[in-house]
Amino acid sequence: MIKYLLPVVLFFVLCGFLFIGLYKDPSEVPSPLIGKPVPEFSLPKLLDNSTNFTHEDFLGKVSVLNVWATWCFACKQEHPALLALADRNVAPIYGLNYKDDSAKAKMYLRDFGNPFEANAFDEAGRVAIDWGVYGAPETFIIDQKGIIRYKHIGPISNNDLENKIIPFVQQLKNET
């Protein structure tokens, strides 16, 4: 009898794992950069290429960095969420314009609205490699000391905005 029960027992163990799996997001990949200072870089700003945007700009405040490009469809999808985040005025949003064409990127911001405080223009995508970017869009939350604390892969939905991003930013602000 015991040996005949084995399949059903194994199956229910499997079901248990599958059930837990349902509430986990398999696409959530922890970034090794979490807890580390932002990588050093210096890039021209998109809208004002006479000045540079550098890692030092993250110091002294909680901020959000969004990696985006005009060729990225999912970025268009999350754009309203970024505008909503900017409206809330919880933290400055910086952009890392990734492997893009500066003329197109400027037009994109003019047409769809500009949620960004400033944009670093990473034409070759080298800085993005240091940030461990797999593909746009990706969003980082950085604390007052310039340390990366959170990474979101893929477009931000309104749900993510309300339940993950904004609470996390508030929490970081309360840390000091």
Binding site: M1, V8, F12, C15, L18, F19, K24, S27, V29
Partner: protein
């Protein structure tokens, strides 16, 4: 109006499915013939209403009815008609409707081809299938209604996922589903037999053609999927060990074990418990595959949109169907006795080894596929398991299997002499080794141990299968002429021979392509020439091409061999306008002994483009081998004796009836 008719038809189908489940099973358990008689009409009615529902959805697609949310999300006015029809199963909701359509079609087939079976048996089989159908119809209606309307009505649809706009993908899912769902018949037979408590060789004989047909569809479905990935994904690969591929491959492995194990149960009355368990497992894995694809628990290119509510529903359904049947198995199996005894060296042992190897292979794939999920559930970290793991564990399991494939048919049932059998096969072994040693040199001018092993085994399975046929034609009973013997060979034997030859062909393809393929990723300027594997690739330039719902950059490359033009390849990079997603269309020159494959990469500057060039020796043999396996299965499933025996049984049953009526007089 039409979508509402479709929706309503689905509700009626659900009611009929409930009737089809409850009434016949109670009827069969209590031996009430009026209740048993409900089975067939209920199943046929359900089929009819699901067809109506399916036609309604197709109609909405053809008429661009974007007030239906599912149509708006998966079609567009510019979408060509053939893709509008195939878009019905292009996403979660509609593919579920296709699932239930096929399930009811298989049930309908059971009602037609089961005339000679005992009524109670058929009633139970149809009842079990009805239960599965209830689960899926409820799932569709409660969480995934394809007929849901939206308001305001969008002017334009969001178009079908461009990956699915390919002829290969039009038929891949239906074939795959036919296979998945087809295992429900063998499953239903197993459950019916467990309910009845009677598991005999007749049961195995009834199940066999159904299991084999399902296996044939699954084989075709998987092969088409692989062929499509090769053509469409632009990586030149044909199998990626993606979780969803694995989800279709696991039932295939168990199905393969099942159709072999059924043979033992039919002919020798052995392996009964084992066969029943395999029948349950094959369908369970089909259901598990459905869960994995639709619940979003794994990362995959195939995954449908994630919705935990759906995941929870399917998981509950899985727990009831699979858990219930495994429990029933645990309760009934101890009482089932296998009668056939066999010695260590016998055909039974060969088939047992085949079963064990296939099952172990299935488990290694199951563990590899779910390992990331296990770790994540235990909060032990995030990992992914890739092809290196699967290749490392799967290939060593398949090598002994191919070895057994060759010798198995020559072993006698019950007791065979290994030395004597091997002596008969000595010639084949020697020829196989010679082919294995020589062929790689002829093909590629080089070799390695792995290639020699692969090709020797492949040659062995092809030659042994052909030799088996040859022996049966030319060395049989001496009273018959060769032609008579040729005619006497049952179709099932041809099926076995063709399928085993198919395995050999498949192994040849896999071995050569993995050992000798070459690839180059190079930037090319217009007019530039690149040399690879003895072929010269000349880049003629790129032009814009406009498709019905996409715009495309089409490159042109001339392929020369010995300064003779052998092909002009036109790889494309398409941008589908609505979803703005880029798609690769590879340029392929297909040949019997090699494919030349070119994929267009990114534009580097004004004149230069990234280009991926591949030389793929023998790759078509992979799909040709799979096609032969499917053909073999088809021949076996259509064997005359299933029908003949059914007729004979009818006569037998009729005659026992006569005896029974005569019984009181006789003693």
């Amino acid at each position: 109006m039409i979508p509402e008719i479709g929706h309503f038809a689905l509700v009626i189908a659900l009611c009929l499915a409930l009737v089809q489940t409850i009434v016949p099973i109670i009827g069969a358990q209590t031996n009430t013939s009026q209740w048993v008689a409900v089975a067939k009409p209920a199943a046929r009615g359900q089929f009819l209403f699901i067809i109506i529902s399916y036609i309604c959805l197709t109609y909405s697609f053809i008429k661009n009815d974007f007030s239906v949310l599912y149509v708006a999300n998966n079609a567009n006015t510019a979408l060509p008609l053939e893709y509008k029809i195939s878009a019905v199963w292009g996403a979660h909701e509609g593919s579920l409707l296709l699932w239930v359509l096929m399930l009811s079609a298989w049930t309908y087939a059971v009602t037609i081809f089961s005339r000679s079976l005992p009524n109670n048996m058929v009633a139970r089989v149809i009842g079990v299938m009805g239960f599965v159908s209830v689960g899926f119809l409820l799932f569709t209606l409660l969480t995934s209604n394809p007929f849901e309307r939206i308001f305001p009505v969008p002017l334009e649809g969001r178009d079908l996922n461009p990956l699915l706009q390919d002829p290969g993908l039009v038929i891949h899912p239906p074939m795959l589903y036919m296979g998945y769902v087809g295992f429900s018949v063998a499953f239903a037979f197993a459950i019916a037999a467990l309910l009845d408590g009677k598991l005999d060789s007749a049961w195995a004989r009834w199940s066999r053609p159904w299991a084999t047909m399902a296996w044939v569809f699954l084989t075709i479905g998987i092969a088409l999927g692989s062929w499509w990935a090769y053509q469409e994904l632009g990586w030149g690969g044909w199998w990626f060990w993606d979780p969803v591929e694995n989800a279709s491959f696991m039932p295939w492995l168990v199905g393969t074990a099942l159709i072999h194990s059924l043979a033992v149960t039919e002919k020798r009355s052995s392996f009964k418990n084992w066969t029943v368990l395999l029948a349950i497992l094959a369908f369970s894995l089909s259901l598990l595959g459905t869960f994995l694809v639709r619940s979003g628990v794994l990362v995959s290119v195939h995954a449908f949109a994630t919705d935990p509510a759906r995941g929870v529903y399917i998981l509950m359904f899985l727990a009831i169907v699979i858990g219930g049947s495994l429990l029933l198995y645990a309760l009934r199996a101890p009482k089932i006795k296998s009668i056939g005894q066999f010695e260590l060296v016998s055909r039974e042992t060969a088939l047992l080894l085949n079963n064990v190897l296939l099952l172990v292979a299935m488990f290694t794939i199951l563990v590899g596929t779910l390992y990331p999920l296990f770790l994540d559930a235990l909060n032990a970290g995030k990992i992914s398991v890739g092809p290196p793991y699967f290749n490392a564990v799967f290939v060593p399991l398949m090598l002994p299997l191919v070895l057994i494939i060759g010798v198995g048919p020559f072993l006698r049932w019950k007791k065979a002499g290994l030395a004597e059998t091997l002596k008969k096969l000595l010639k084949i072994i020697v020829i196989g080794l010679i082919v294995g040693a020589a062929l790689p040199f002829v093909v590629a001018g080089k070799t390695s141990i792995l290639v020699v092993v692969g090709i020797s085994l492949a040659a062995w399975s092809v030659l042994a299968a052909l030799y088996y046929l040859f022996k049966n034609v030319f060395r049989g009973e001496s009273t018959l002429s060769s032609l008579q013997r040729f005619k006497k060979i049952p179709r099932a034997t041809y099926g076995m021979v063709v399928a085993h030859v198919g395995i050999g062909i498949f192994v040849i393809g896999v071995t050569f392509v993995s050992a000798f393929e070459e690839e180059k990723e190079v930037p090319m300027r217009v007019g530039e020439k690149v040399e690879m594997s003895g072929y010269e690739f000349g880049f003629n330039g790129v032009k814009d091409v406009q498709g019905p719902n996409y715009s495309s950059k089409q490159a042109s490359l001339s392929v020369l061999k010995d300064n003779k033009l052998i092909a002009t390849l036109l790889p494309e990079k398409r941008t589908y306008l609505v979803q703005e997603s880029p798609m690769t269309e590879a340029g392929i020159d297909t040949g019997v002994f090699r494919d030349i494959y070119v994929a267009l990469g990114e534009q580097i500057d004004h004149e230069a483009w990234g280009m991926r060039l591949y030389y793929k020796p023998f790759i078509q043999w992979i799909w040709f081998g799979a096609a032969l396996m499917a053909l073999g299965g088809l021949l076996a499933a259509l064997d005359k004796r299933y029908r003949l025996k059914l007729k004979r049984e009818k006569v037998a049953i009729a005659s026992t009836d006569n005896k029974q009526t005569a019984a009181p007089v006789a003693p």
